[in-house]
């Protein structure tokens, strides 16, 4: 695979400038911080509330922002310019994902600080958060490539926001509605399982299945994204 850090960095710098001037989208990323600050003042300090904020960050920053960035490139025909340049698929998709990744990690970090979340094992939690962010960014890219406009992307991202931010709350209803058992295998729930086991002091060896499920979701999302992107390179 042909990867150029210089080209990825160029796309990242461009995105950073462009995003900082795009208030319509950029204000959205502050919502998780706002909620984290409110929870902190209210004294809400449960693991579920922390991960609700983190999952919201994933849905809003990693998926929604990424979806808008890609959809805008498509809508304004700038994506075609990138495709015609010497930048490879990896350069473009990697470069276009860097901003969402950096923003997601920053928002999660500051949300955790505001909500005073201190995991028992920061390395395992950080690994799980980074892996989860790859999944959400891939979903954002996929939806952005699928959407015909920024307006449309704002709509098609809503189910992701609903399912992955608040889906975990429906898991207790799985006894009553067996179809909801599928939610247990969603990456947001797997992330929560990892966080819970970390707090219980469980060894990392017993968490591998949760990491594997998130990784599987990520690989499927990345593979679909690459397939759809390659189709977009040809009319």
């Amino acid at each position: 695979m042909n990867v150029s850090i210089k080209r990825m960095s160029a796309i990242f710098q461009k995105d950073l400038k462009d995003f900082s001037r795009n208030l319509a989208v950029s204000v959205v990323i502050f919502l998780p911080l706002f909620i984290a600050a409110i929870y902190s003042r209210m004294g809400v300090d449960s693991l579920a509330s922390h991960y609700m904020i983190f999952n919201m960050t994933f849905a809003l920053t990693a998926t929604y922002v990424q979806c808008c960035l890609i959809a805008e490139e498509k809508e304004k025909n700038t994506l075609r310019g990138l495709m015609l340049s010497p930048a490879s698929t990896a350069d473009i998709l990697g470069g276009k994902s860097l901003l969402s990744f950096v923003l997601t990690m920053l928002i999660i970090f500051f949300s955790a600080v505001l909500a005073e979340y201190q995991p028992a094992n920061i390395a395992i939690v950080a690994l799980a958060l980074v892996l989860s962010s790859f999944f959400y960014i891939a979903v954002g890219t996929l939806l952005g490539l699928w959407a015909k406009s920024v307006m449309e992307s704002s709509v098609i991202v809503l189910p992701v926001l609903g399912i992955f931010s608040f889906g975990s709350f429906a898991v207790p209803l799985a006894e009553q509605y067996p179809i909801l058992k599928v939610l247990v295998y969603f990456p947001n729930h797997q992330l929560f399982e990892i966080a819970t086991k970390v707090e219980l002091g469980t060894a990392i060896g017993s968490m591998w299945s949760h990491f594997a499920i998130i990784l599987l979701w990520t690989l499927v999302a990345v593979a679909l994204t690459v397939i759809v992107y390659r189709k977009q390179t040809k009319d």
Binding site: N2, K6, R7, S9, A10, I11, Q13, K14, K17, D18, R21, N22, E73, K76, N77, T78, L79, R80, G81, L82, M83, L84, S85, P86, A87, S88, T233, K234, D235
Partner: protein, 282 residues
């Protein structure tokens, strides 16, 4: 003479509509090759095929000797530039910031920006945001972006369609200067004057097929009716036929000092197109 593009029996079908229908042509290194035809004649489809954006239904083509499947290679992409009528720009960034991104993508120094902006008459406007520019200025920025990496081969799809006459002339001069330095240009247009003044050879495209292909001079000569129009000093216009009858009458007018002007009647490229297809270019 080295062919930079070779096209062999290319066909492109969309559904039940044939956009290009068995095209065969070559583009010689260093020439400006005009692809002329009305909207929907297959010009843009051909550019998309030759730049790897579209796969043909059948047929083969090479660009720089590389098959169409190889056009995605970065070293090949660096050798050509593409300007289409819907090439996009980043509205919230300035002209300079837009071009800076492409300098980094093509791995060329930022100093190239000044030079290319000068060639499209936008040097003074480089700090302006794209959203503040007129359609014509945006078209010139896209052209600057296309020229930035000094490609060996330029594909220009209606490059002056949104420009006023002053800027059109400026762009034409720039393209001629670029061509003089060795850049091969593949130009699509429906502006016959533009094709006549810029192109070394032109292909007339209609309904997906090449109807004529030659130099503008030869095309005009082969479609000329060999008549001569003279304007007399009394402002009367007389069209003289070819042959001895016309020559005798011309001699008579000249002998009696009645001639103000003499013009050979060559058809314009537009006239030839209408003659050939029975319809106007639009």
């Amino acid at each position: 003479m080295e062919n930079i593009i070779e096209v062999n029996n290319i066909v492109k079908v969309y559904g039940n509509q044939t956009a290009v229908d068995g095209l065969d042509f070559n583009v010689i290194k260093g020439e400006i090759f005009g692809f002329l035809g009305p909207s929907g004649s297959g010009k843009t489809t051909m550019i998309k095929i030759l730049t790897g954006q579209l796969l043909p239904t059948s047929g083969t083509a090479t660009v720089f000797g590389e098959a169409l499947s190889q056009l995605k290679k970065p070293e090949v992409k660096k050798r050509f530039g593409v300007l289409t009528d819907n090439s996009g720009l980043y509205d919230r960034l300035s002209i300079h910031e837009n071009l800076k991104l492409y300098c980094q993508l093509y791995d060329i120094p930022f100093s190239a920006i000044e030079e290319v902006l000068d060639s499209v008459n936008l040097k003074e406007e480089k700090a302006k945001k794209i959203s503040a520019l007129s359609k014509g200025m945006k078209q010139r920025v896209v052209l600057a972006r296309t020229l930035l990496h000094a490609p060996d081969l330029l594909f220009l799809d209606e490059p002056t369609s949104a420009l006023d006459p002053v800027n059109t002339r400026h762009i034409h001069k720039g393209l001629q200067a670029l061509n003089a330095k060795g850049t091969t240009i593949f130009l699509t247009t429906h502006d016959m004057e533009e094709a006549d003044s810029l192109c070394d050879r032109i292909a007339f495209l209609d309904k997906g097929k090449i109807q004529l292909l030659d130099t503008p001079a030869k095309l005009k000569k082969s479609h000329s009716d060999s008549t001569v129009t003279i304007e007399l000093k009394n402002e009367e216009i007389v069209v003289l036929p070819a042959g001895s009858e016309g020559a005798e009458r011309l001699f008579e007018f000249m002998k009696t000092d009645q001639v103000a002007t003499i013009h050979t009647n060559e058809p314009s490229l537009g006239d030839i197109f209408v003659q050939m297809t029975g319809r106007e270019l639009a």
